[in-house]
């Protein structure tokens, strides 16, 4: 729902770094997004296609690396991934004494540029 603000941030970060290294254009942008963040990739793509036009990022391909939510069981130490963010009991010991250990990542990892 706030994908426009997020997409604007992606454009700013990518453009700034590309300009710093005197790139001619950005061809690819690699994003790392944990499933616990409420971002819809299609919405980001939608806004991206509009706001990246006529910029150094025009035509750049967005790559979404999705990190599933990972939980650690406090009873038996087992770690497991969540499907669709459903908080389910530990598959090993059935305890609900579980904690989030991954899935909240939200960063721009790297870009590919043409010089």
């Amino acid at each position: 729902m706030h994908e426009l603000a997020v997409t604007e941030n992606i454009l700013e970060i990518a453009s700034r770094h590309a300009t710093q290294v005197h790139a001619k254009r950005v061809t690819d942008i690699y994003l790392v997004i944990g499933n616990l963040s409420s971002i819809v990739d299609d919405s980001v793509q939608f806004y991206w296609d509009i706001i990246s036009e006529n910029t150094i990022c025009s035509g750049a391909q967005l790559h979404f690396q999705r990190i599933p939510a990972q939980m650690a069981c406090q009873e038996c130490g087992h770690t497991f991934g969540l499907e669709d963010n459903h908080l389910t009991p530990c598959p090993q010991c059935n305890s609900m004494n579980i904690r989030v250990i991954a899935g909240e990542e939200f960063y721009l990892d790297s870009i590919e540029i043409e010089k």
Binding site: V6, A14, A23, L36, Y107, S110
Partner: protein
């Protein structure tokens, strides 16, 4: 044509977070304790603010920042009627407040004259969770009629708060709500989170909330 990979590793929300830090410094320099109050529409944000004003206005100086998506001043008007300075932010359709809007609002407030600042965010359980404002505490109001599965459906907002209000407990006899199931979800996402079950309608539980707030305001003053 020469293709090159450039490593960046920059948080997408970094610019907002940096401005949020600036906002936080402003608040700290003036010894103000600030809370970012979030909830679904109708959960009781404005009601809680009015109850808080009732209890605390005689003893300390309160201010309110109201965020809404449209130029309606319904909430700010209620706060003004209670005799408290309120700044209205019209987000112009944005579904959340961010650090920029917070910074603008802070310019319009007499910071030297406040002890406690409450920001009433836009009614929304998704977007506000992604935008830090620079407050000392993010506080969520969950209300009984919304149902006991909300932590499971909206993990991000439950992860990012430092206090949880469970409002409308007077409706527990009339609404299907499994408190154990609800609390289990909260504990998984935010272990040890302080919670305030209360009712703005009947006044039950409000005293504990007020007491906690007073403690936090005092801590802000003594660290000046």
């Amino acid at each position: 044509m020469d293709n090159q990979r450039v490593t960046i590793v920059e948080k997408i929300m970094d610019a907002n977070d940096r401005l949020a830090s600036i906002n936080r410094n402003l608040l700290d320099q003036n010894g103000i304790f600030a809370i970012n109050l979030m909830a679904s529409p109708g959960a009781g944000k404005t009601s809680l603010i009015l109850k808080t004003i009732d209890a605390l206005a005689p003893q300390m100086r309160l201010g309110v920042i109201e965020g809404d998506t449209a130029p309606v001043t319904i909430d700010a008007d209620k706060v003004h009627a209670a005799g408290i300075p309120a700044v209205q932010i019209n987000t112009g359709g944005d579904c959340h407040l961010d650090a920029v809007m917070m910074n603008n609002a802070l310019q319009q407030i007499p910071l030297k004259e406040l002890d406690l600042l409450i920001i009433e965010n836009v009614g929304n359980l998704i977007c506000p969770a992604a935008f830090q404002l620079g407050t000392h505490a993010n506080v969520l109001i969950a209300s009984i009629p919304e149902g006991d599965d909300k932590p499971y459906k909206y993990p991000q907002i439950y992860r990012g708060i430092s206090a949880l209000i469970i409002n409308k407990i007077d409706l527990l006899p009339y609404v299907k709500f499994n408190m154990d199931y609800f609390r289990q979800g909260v504990e998984i996402l935010n272990p040890g989170l302080i919670t305030f079950p209360l009712s703005c309608q009947t006044g039950e539980g409000i005293a504990a909330w007020i007491s906690w707030l007073k403690e936090q305001v005092l801590k802000c003053k003594t660290s000046l």
